[in-house]
Point group: C2
Amino acid sequence: MAPPSEGGADALLPDLPKGPLQAYRSRASFCWKELALFLEGEDVLRLKKTIFSTLENDPLFAHSHGEELCLEKCRELSFLRCQRLLELSFLSMEDMVASPLLVQTLIACLGMYDWSLGLKFLLHMLTFGSAIYSSGSERHLKYLPKIFNMEIFGCFAVTELSHGSNAKAVRTTAHYDPTTEEFIIHTPDFEAAKFWVGNMGKTATHAVVFAQLYTPGGQCHGLHSFVVQIRDPKTLLPMPGVMVGDMGKKLGLNGVDNGFAMFHKVRIPRQDLLNRTGDVTPEGTYVTPFKDDKQRFGASLGTLSFGRVTIVGMSIVNLKLAVSIALRFSATRCQFGPTDGEEVPVLEYQMQQWRLLPYLAAIYALDHFSKSLFLDVAELQQGLAGADHGARQAELGREIHALASAGKPLASWTAQRGIQECREACGGHGYLAVNRLGDLRNDNDPNCTYEGDNNVLLQQTSSYLLSLLARHIQGGARVESPLRTVDFLEAYPDILGRRFTCPSVDSCLDSAVPLAAYEWLVCYLLRESHQKLTQEKRSGSNDFEARNNSQVYYCRPLALAFLELTVVRRFHEYTHQPHVPPGLRAVLGRLSALYALWSLSQHTALLYQGGYFSGERAGKMIQNAILDLCSKLKDDAVALVDVIAPPDFVLDSPIGRADGELYKNLWTAVLLESKVLERPSWWAEFSIRKPRMGSLKSKL
Amino acid sequence: MAPPSEGGADALLPDLPKGPLQAYRSRASFCWKELALFLEGEDVLRLKKTIFSTLENDPLFAHSHGEELCLEKCRELSFLRCQRLLELSFLSMEDMVASPLLVQTLIACLGMYDWSLGLKFLLHMLTFGSAIYSSGSERHLKYLPKIFNMEIFGCFAVTELSHGSNAKAVRTTAHYDPTTEEFIIHTPDFEAAKFWVGNMGKTATHAVVFAQLYTPGGQCHGLHSFVVQIRDPKTLLPMPGVMVGDMGKKLGLNGVDNGFAMFHKVRIPRQDLLNRTGDVTPEGTYVTPFKDDKQRFGASLGTLSFGRVTIVGMSIVNLKLAVSIALRFSATRCQFGPTDGEEVPVLEYQMQQWRLLPYLAAIYALDHFSKSLFLDVAELQQGLAGADHGARQAELGREIHALASAGKPLASWTAQRGIQECREACGGHGYLAVNRLGDLRNDNDPNCTYEGDNNVLLQQTSSYLLSLLARHIQGGARVESPLRTVDFLEAYPDILGRRFTCPSVDSCLDSAVPLAAYEWLVCYLLRESHQKLTQEKRSGSNDFEARNNSQVYYCRPLALAFLELTVVRRFHEYTHQPHVPPGLRAVLGRLSALYALWSLSQHTALLYQGGYFSGERAGKMIQNAILDLCSKLKDDAVALVDVIAPPDFVLDSPIGRADGELYKNLWTAVLLESKVLERPSWWAEFSIRKPRMGSLKSKL
């Protein structure tokens, strides 16, 4: 990519308002516009600008300053905005196919504005739409234009009241009746009610329902998906036999109507079975191209990966917003100082830097990972669409599944912890709802749970690594993968023999040092996990027990360390490539080193335990390097936020506005709240009715 | 304390309902009623029963099932309930003075029901009331009956829009005018508006206002507090010259009306200066019994400690509720199993045990610490009230201040992380508002911030320890304190020479092992912090810089480790005392060991770095001991929850009810939500108005 013209940068990235943040901006070591262009490219920046300015100029997207919205209103607004997105059609089908990064950008932009809207739109268009497209066949294509026109509105119904993580065990049934050529969808009892389904609560007319498929004679063929109409699009009233409702208030994302449904012998045409992986003939015979259930399940990994990779991106969006707010606050909030009269911005404190700057670095490293993984998934899906069933394609599917299954936990947890740190780092002002950190935390929280509980998902990644090791040990197979994330394991015994060597703190300031440490760490945890599993089995545990007893200190940190290594490696390579503009090399190198060292420092105990570190110096060197990098990045922090923060309208946080007029903005926002200066409606309860102390005590 | 009679236990602690939790209850190693009686005593249990049953039987305290409450309504309810508490008068003045633990119990019970109510009541009765009592003199006693009768309603106004942590720098002024014998309270500009003041938003009629006191001639005597009337009790309208308003929605605690106020030359009588530490004569001369500002400030440490110790208790209440919900859920939620047909409770998974049981142990250890520290503070305050100005009293004040200043961070962070873990451990169901984990997280969050930001507060504790060390090094002073929490430091050089020795995992299963490790850790961090500060100063830093650059990896972990040691020591001693009933020794010992080892394991890196641990075995032994204790406590977990959980009405979480009928309770609760099965009011927007894809695209 050639460096874009200055003119282009200025048109796409307008100057930021002058104000108190100027002091830090003028000390930045680089030009924020140059970095934005380098990271995003003109196409992405143009799309972002279009989306953000369109939302800002449309009253339907106006923020409800001070007005309290009830649940019904939140959901109405999300729905109306969804409709409007359709009319606005920011991306054509051709754009989407041609550039997956634009799809990711669209999702991120909507999420920056409000994840309820982003998610509602995503669930309908992408989750529901692509479930039909990728699990169905030609006979289901008829649904697609209806989806895109919102003639119908969709949801994706897997989980039930009593089954979440163990989705394969859901209990909704689909019995085939050859006499009418229909499936009978049935919920045996309320514990099998579909539960937690986004869009199902109030809006969905159609659901992709997962149910156990039975053919006549009573044979069960496992989980399949069916298109089931649940409401009449003309009235939004439920279809006969369907009990469908809204789950009520959640901790966040209250613009999305999560719902439940019970089916009482609801009949649907045979054709509404999504039959990519298995079908039933009119006479009632089950046919499938796959040998067994396991293989059939494996074929759907790509779709699962897409959901998880999307959540990686969603989490990073939340962290970007929170860190932008907290760092702009920290650069303008002054408290204490060397003398009584002189107060300094809290960003000048080493403690505040250490609390926030590693999360800023994490954003840059994880964002790069998220984009690159999104492109990997797009490649995988294009291969699947092209019916590429080769061995490489299967291997790619497994590798991406492993990356996505640990990437979602890492990103969602990093965001959750980072947002909490930002909330606390903004003190009381971070606790005021109008500053948005609460919504960010609440809206990010389900990222730790949906599309798979984080701790459960990590098992997918460790199992992948352990299976590679087993193949290597048993059959001598080369350890390699299409994206080369595991290739280093080929040098496994050699790496385990390495020890930390670093002559000085200065030489620690590059991500090459933590990268080497991470390679050792993953090899160590892989060996330890393998030995632990073997030992468990030797002492009589069955597979289930052996796996369960090897998670806490073995497989779980293995999966996380492997993913961190991959994130660190990809960002290290990206920031060290020759075509990085000279003016950006220093700052990108520091971000890469800070993220890597900070992540690594969470494993210091293991590095010592396994003997990679020894002596006091190793641990202290890492600590000193982290603090040194924080101090070097401190003056770049505001400019680094300018690169990732959306415009003020979208960021929507008085203490995080680009002009840095912290107190003016906050004061104005508080005065805009409803009835702020009015006495309470219940004033007479205080003034007239006077309680008598202990008057009800005798009743106790 | 003699073991109470069985009859007493049964009357105070009714049997729990039968149901799915019975399986675990029947496997418990101890009798939960015996443990409850041992820990709490009959008086506390009786008070709890009275409070809980009174709330449950009064419709004013009924929960708003499914009904959405607007901000105004939340605040009205809190206020009305406050009034009712006054009428109910659970504790007489005599009870409170005679038994501080009953005061703590009352606060905890109200908080278990709803912290908005607890806090509103506390702010008025205790914070406002005791500020007047302890900072004022005889002439202010007239306010007390008015407070207890709610003739007036109070708030405590220190922080301003631009000053929180650095409270001493607040900018509100109080100029004395001898011609009228009045103070003129004035806010120089909106950045000096009082901000974040609980109860000020809608209800308070009077505020204790902190302002810089100026005498004629313009001399400033520093911060003093004044009673300022801000609203007319007859109308709840603001007094002339006072602009007072409500700050709007917060992340939680929305039943408390936090507010702001600006004073425009508001005149108050000279007598309304709270003059315990300094006064102004009618002619305008400043008089004080203290030599300097610093000494005057020191005299107020006791009051600060009370607030912080109260927050320790508040945090533990939140963690108790969250862990009760998550453990009852985990004992009844089945997912996966050794075979396809058979699913096991998620509590059977080592991972789930490791996520939750350490927090259960933390509750028991921290609760004991909280009670004992509350008694210490009560002793201190009685000494102060008795005008005991001896050296021991001063030392006691400093020690308690150090304990409270790190106790609040440790308890609030443990609760915050624990609640988040509970939320995630309950999967999607934990994300449903009705299950209460969101409210607990949101209501606990400000505990990390108010009464001092956690990270800032920790400096008070490390400074205390460093000053003891300095006195010891410089003058050879004995290291000792009234509560003996620092006495072990006398053996400082000896302790630093110790190394981890533990023959087997079994011998690690007692808290004596982590206790010894903690002593080493605190000594190590104390030496390191001292050296770091010295080195910073040697290389040219001034005091301000030296202190700031020694926090992250030195003073901060020092303060936390010292406090953890104190918690571990106190609980170790409590659980190992001879009069622990035989049937409770095993379970209490395990809780003590688990909390101690789990806390310690967060410092493993330092234990290796400093050489206390060496070799692979030490780290693994701690890990194995933690997992072993989790597995041993697993069958006791439900009974341990029964000891700490309030009745179902107060716990108010369908997935956490004592009968363990997880799905029935959740299903019923969801169906009770408002309009759950109705179509949305805006259905026609979907059914009639059909968007045309891209129809607005040209406008972009």
